[in-house]
Symmetry: D2
Subunit: 326 residues, 4 copies
């Protein structure tokens, strides 16, 4: 996979309930707090190699602050920034973000804030967190059902084609899977820069809103852990939406839940499949085809709730968390 972007680095979210949000990720998902600064808390999963992969910042409304990507090389960073600037969606260089070096800020066509960088801080475990497993950046925590690493981010868009084209042409992503809806409109894209099927999904926002956040996904690797956390969520009143169940698209064994601030979080229970083929032909699901309609969203397990296509953050009228039926 030769691409200018190498990987998803981190997702920054706003939350109106910062203490509860931090407790959710720390106590239940076993994430470690790397840093606190102002109204922000920085966290990472125990197999995340960098200083943080999740930033939570207090705000009036839930939603996305920013997604950060790492370029494949210092040179690739310059190349991709040139293309962003040419697209008219560039913003500016900065070097003031915690644990991140010189970075270029920009937006998707829908307005989701993004950042691309090369330099960043690795997590250096203090003695009490140091693992004897030399390829593990910190000990497996004893809290909750600990997630292993950040996996991908899903953004709701008002125009799937436009935003997909931007990610393909300007950011150099590869299009792995796509879903075509009634009348031939493209309703979802799954894009990646590595063997993962996606580090980024773009889904049509059924409410017609622009620039909203759908979910960030953390990875378990073992399906049992999804059953474990589902059990804990049932017992502790964590709001869930769908799953554990298996998607046809991406083959992910998943569960969707909401952190206390209202942002949707996906927990990813296995590995789905990996793509090594350098000539990958985009997998197309056409929901006008009845089999695809049935199998693409749910391969097995309960149905996806309708809110899956309508609820995002920030919330819009008539789609708050309280209005979502299970």
């Amino acid at each position: 996979m030769n691409t200018d972007i190498a990987q998803l680095v981190s997702v920054a979210l706003y939350t109106p309930k910062p203490a509860e949000s931090v407790a959710f990720f720390h106590d239940l998902l076993g994430m470690e707090i790397s840093h606190r600064e102002g109204q922000s808390v920085y966290l990472r999963a125990y197999e995340d190699f960098y200083q943080y992969t999740l930033k939570l910042t207090e705000a009036k409304q839930a939603g996305l602050e920013e997604v950060t990507w790492r370029a494949s090389s210092p040179k690739a960073l310059e190349t991709v920034v040139m293309r962003i600037e040419a697209s008219g969606l560039g913003d500016r260089w900065t070097d003031r973000d915690y644990a991140h070096g010189r970075a270029y800020k920009f937006c998707t066509p829908d307005g989701h804030r993004q950042k691309v960088l090369w330099d960043l801080d690795y997590f250096e475990a203090p003695p009490e967190l140091k693992s004897k497993l030399r390829n593990r950046p910190s000990k497996r925590p004893l809290r909750g059902v600990p997630v292993r690493r950040i996996d991908h981010v899903n953004l709701m868009v008002s125009d799937v084609v436009k935003n997909t084209d931007f990610m393909l042409n300007v950011l150099d992503f590869k299009l792995r899977e796509q879903k075509i809806g009634d009348g031939g409109a493209i309703v979802g894209s799954w894009l990646s820069v590595s063997a993962l099927v996606h580090e980024l999904a773009l889904m049509r926002d059924s409410t017609g809103s622009r620039g909203r956040f759908h979910h960030v996904a953390y990875w378990y690797g073992a399906q049992q852990h999804l059953l474990d956390i589902a059990d804990i969520f049932a017992e502790r009143d964590v709001r869930t939406e769908s799953g554990p169940a298996k998607h046809g698209t991406t083959q992910a064994y998943f569960m969707y839940c909401f952190e206390p601030g209202g942002n949707r979080v996906e927990l990813f229970g296995d590995t789905g499949y990996l793509i090594f083929d350098p000539e990958w032909k985009t997998v197309v699901w056409n929901v006008a085809n009845e089999v695809d309609l049935e199998k693409s969203s749910i391969w097995f397990g309960g149905q996806l709730a309708k809110s899956f296509y309508r609820y995002g953050t920030p919330v819009v009228l008539g789609h708050s968390l309280e209005e979502i039926g299970r």
Copy 2:
């Protein structure tokens, strides 16, 4: 990951018991037979996208016929072949191998035969094998405990440094992990061209032999399937060597067994960890360090048998399968 090689395509093995070897992969590991030609049978796992990933050919002795790699692009193929030719280890172009297009044949410094290509045939499922899961190249079989895809190959070498350098410098692999033995000698290298920790491992052959084959690994993804196949092997007299247990290096949950022809096969039960960092620093295990000595080979589970470092194919005096203790 920008590399000239994109992935491992296939492994070709010799077997003195071809019918039994085919039955092992087909009946117990649930692989599909794609083709038969002369004394050769071609097989694939149900998530392998190409026409075959394993070729078994009748021969007097077990061992490796050839490993095939796919380049990242037609241009990368030319580039890597130029470097191979410059190394003096090149052989010739061919276009006569089943399901493989124009390919360049060469050897490792230790003499393991290799091939690199761009063009090759994808598997096209006949109607009875076609899956409704559009990203799955064929239905999940109902036989045995079916492996999902080829994962990696492990070669025994007389000189780890020389062979590692060749794969890094000529083939453009990345060095992910390395093991240093007594006196500082490098005794093992794990190399990859993708997010996998390795598509290729090079291990010192303790018998001092050159060019032998250690194992090919097929991937399950779920740890339960390793327990399932271990149960079936126990019941059906399949010879196993170590595991199910977990390696420290690569973090693989593994089991080693022998197909009836005598070649070692690894079954890989989870995903280990994946590498997305474009600046990855090689993880070094130093077995002079007691903790590393203990944890690198086995993180948990029973110990590795000594035969792990001595038995390879073709067999050499005093190390036949019959002499291996469980």
Copy 3:
């Protein structure tokens, strides 16, 4: 657990599609065919110790032929038969059923045919099925995702109280869990004679029908196997109703599917919990309580389909398999 009944022996079902039904249990669930006689085929799971646990007989309509129980001792058999005769629901002694010795036939108050016996034939594995695991009655099959043993049977009843009382007072079952519906009516009972939470469930038939069959459950033990068979069902058009998901009642991780003849089959993925307490206090779920309403049927996973309370065999007007939405 001192009870006159020791265990569930077998379930006999009618099927209008006998060849397809046998193929379902044999090819997908990995069951072994023990015997064929007239229009009947007898099967067992690989850890079932007796000659058969499932009898399939060709008939115009799907439904239950008979449930067979084993008494705790020859003396307990006489005791329980005396109570059955006193209840007025007894029928007659017989010794003509395949692989079953002298047995007494009777009915539940709802009319489900039952049988209780002491003598019966154990399965004696022929050499090719003999396991080296001395506590396993036959080798683990290489077909499908093999179920391990029969677990329980669920009967739909027009009157839960009356049928529960019969099983408690006449058959000597213990009441493990109970569900109370709107207005205080008992809508479901889970009864057992061993450490299992239930060998028998009695559920109110929402259609008001009498004597229908809800499901027979076979046990996997590992949750992964439920995901495996769910994957295979999705690919091979086996109709499923709900799950994989987890019940609150009984704590079972389950999936409901329909064999080709139309009878519902439950696949049971873990062990739930076991009861060793000789003074067990019945667990009561009251669906007038909102938490119980939500948690008793589904602890986690997708919701139960409405057909779960209405579809049984034989089918009644308006509730055929074709009318069931997924």
Copy 4:
């Protein structure tokens, strides 16, 4: 299963490192502390229904204080006590043990202290531990990899036959499996009073000592959890002996470790098999038979360490924990 004993209630152990021992069970195995009294701490797993299942008491040496059994009924208690008294191994009635009612104390022929009772205290969850799952006595903890319930106890004996006969004839256990060693001597017995294959194992002590403790087993139910705790043990220097691997006898997927005080603890990863047959024929493994020798101890996974047959608590000369090779 009609027997005078219904179940294993609890195991009381001595430990020279009480704080570390409590931390092991509480922090790593997720057990809850029910009570502290004098030099003793009482704990339970989250699915244990009674007030405690493990009592840890400070002492100079590790070892067994007492095993407690519950009778099947008040009447069965009187019956079994009469038989114990007749055997000459009875001690006295007491009603002074924490959370246990009137109980009768006695010894095995080898001198292991035991107790049998009918009355005892159930665990009543305080509000913060109360589960919405009405059949779960307390919430699933968020600490470590929490065990679910006590499973069985294993005692080392100088004379297997004599101690087995006592448990069968006086206590009314059933003999489920037995292992015969060289020369026809019985070297191990697995006994139960329920569907479990064993609540009690008796193993020949190869050091010839009398009355020592081999292990207490706690149950997970899911094999993944054994891999999880093995991973945590590897990282946190918990001494392990064998596994995760699968026994042939009892079919248990197991791991043996040592709590900091030196007592061996088994973690039990699945369910093995259950016995419902009221006429069960004891499964006999004869280690003079090579297949049985190989398969009975380890069905799959690494070999059992020799210390398994020699190390018990209290320790005897030459077999301390420090002398055990991994």
